[in-house]
């Protein structure tokens, strides 16, 4: 017989434990597991960008006094998962189409020679410039006579996709990633397109019925963003040209493409596209894009000079201007074909 109350209590607890210890151990194990899972979920929600480094580039002037660059790039991965700080530098607008080619050269070089992940945000050029995809045929896509007459520059870029005419109103956003960077993302066109759409869904957050439609970004059924990609063995690039605003006269340089998305339903340019500025202020769009990138990547700044000068390969980009001679020859070939000439 216990001598006091506390001894009685202890004896009671011990006897209950001996009878039911298996149950207690199971309950304890389940409870502990649940606690660990819950904590892990909360940590993941809070720190979901730990594993995805993205460096920030401070843009460099390329000898042009009023070039415009928002650049952010990937960070070196910190094993402890700490996120470096983010820095931005805003440049003024580009004046020459050569800057656009240089931008594309940098992107192609980063894709081919850099082991890091990058995000680049850039304004367009003052002069309207036509940018065709990898396999674009000028005679099929352009009103060549007008293009030559008005001396509109034409660039063939290294990524796939269609033709755009860009000007100072266009905003370009580019992501360059190692194929294992985004968890559970297969490095193929459709998954990458879908991933990009989910990122921009955070930017637009239900505004204007934003969604991805047959590889275009649309509000409703009006396109405001065109996408293009290039996929290598270990990396991919996804870049978008956003129609912030546009001059309707520039659309006259483009023909209706043969390979048009079904939702276009044979609409002319002006019935098919819309202006991003009607839905969101420019600075808000850029800020929200950076914010959305920050939910998936840790952002860090880097001197652009370091990126450009550190390239150890003799890289030859494929993006280039098409010459007047090439455009004229393309137009002549089509004329001969139509006339039935050999």
């Amino acid at each position: 017989m216990p001598a006091c109350i506390h001894e009685l209590f202890v004896e009671f607890i011990v006897s209950v434990y001996h009878r039911h210890h298996h149950t207690y151990m199971h309950a304890f194990g389940i409870g502990l597991t649940g606690l660990v899972v819950a904590l892990g979920y909360l940590m993941k929600q809070k720190n979901h960008h730990i594993s995805l480094p993205l460096q920030l580039l401070l843009p460099r002037r390329f000898g042009i006094t009023d070039s415009s660059f928002y650049v952010c790039g990937p960070a070196l991965k910190d094993i402890k998962g700490k996120s470096p700080s983010l820095k931005f530098e805003r440049r003024k607008k580009n004046t020459r189409p050569g800057i656009l080619v240089r931008q594309l050269h940098i992107e192609e070089q980063l894709l081919r020679t850099s082991s890091e992940n990058w995000c680049i945000i850039n304004d367009g050029t003052n002069d309207p410039t036509i940018v065709m995809g990898f396999s674009g045929k000028p005679a099929e896509l352009l009103e060549i006579e007008s293009v030559l007459h008005d001396q509109v520059p034409v660039i063939r870029r290294f990524t796939g996709g269609g033709t755009v005419i860009v000007d100072h109103q266009t905003i370009f956003v580019t992501f360059i990633c190692n194929k294992e960077t985004v968890p559970d993302l297969q490095p193929y066109p459709r998954p990458i397109m879908s991933w990009s759409s989910s990122l921009y869904s955070k930017v637009f957050g239900g505004i204007g019925d934003f969604h991805l439609r047959e590889n275009d970004y649309v509000f409703g059924n009006h396109k405001f963003g065109g996408n293009a990609q290039s996929i290598t063995k270990n990396k991919w690039i996804h870049h978008t040209s956003f129609l912030w605003d546009f001059d309707v006269r520039n659309m006259a340089y483009l023909k209706l493409p043969k390979l048009a998305p079904a939702y276009r339903s044979a609409r002319g340019h002006l019935d098919f596209i819309c202006r991003l500025k009607d839905y969101m202020p420019r600075s808000t769009f850029i800020d929200k894009t950076v914010e959305a990138a920050g939910t998936q990547f840790s952002l860090r700044s880097l001197e652009l000079e370091a990126v450009v000068t550190c390239s150890e390969t003799e890289f030859r980009p494929s993006t280039r201007f098409l010459t007047n001679e090439e455009l004229a020859a393309a137009a002549a070939a089509v004329s001969e074909q139509q006339l039935g000439l050999p």
Partner: protein, 155 residues
């Protein structure tokens, strides 16, 4: 098959639902495979190269094939050309090293052969190999099938 997939893709887009690729891909027994999804058929010193059914299925409708020049050197694992499908250019890498002796000119006018007949009419280049020992770095059909299953199951 390519046009059926295109219709399905467009219908899915209109209905705003995701398009899922097929759950299986054709793998031929007598070929060797690279982990970047190219196949090679070897006869003596001659190698015929293309992309696999798994690759063409994931890439979508091919609209353009960039071919190398005949006589160009290729190296195992390095890119020699590209295919374009809708909005993307995708590198095609050589499973073997050697010299290009023939390219499939048909692909210039009919790039969709890569989708409809990836192992036959959709071949891309023929190479005279300079190091047959490299073949040991490639997968046989069984290993490649497993590789594809593992890759798809992770995503």
């Amino acid at each position: 098959m390519a046009s059926t997939m295109l219709w399905a893709s467009r219908a899915a887009s209109y209905l705003r639902i995701s398009v899922f690729h097929r759950g299986f891909s054709t793998v031929l027994k007598d070929l060797k495979y690279a982990d970047s999804h190219e196949w090679v058929k070897v006869t003596g010193n001659a190698a015929t190269i293309g992309i696999t059914d798994h690759a063409q299925d994931h890439l979508g409708d091919v609209v353009y094939v960039e071919l190398p020049e005949v006589g160009a050197a290729v190296k195992q694992g390095d890119s020699f050309g590209a295919v374009e499908s809708v909005k993307a250019t995708s590198d095609v890498n050589s499973p073997v090293s050697g010299k290009v002796v023939e390219v499939n000119e048909e692909l210039s006018s009919s790039p969709a052969l890569v989708n409809s007949s990836p192992y036959e009419d959709g071949w891309i280049i023929k190479v005279e190999m300079n190091d047959a020992a490299e073949l040991k770095n490639l997968m046989d059909s069984e290993k490649y099938s497993k590789f594809c299953e593992d890759e798809d199951s992770k995503h």
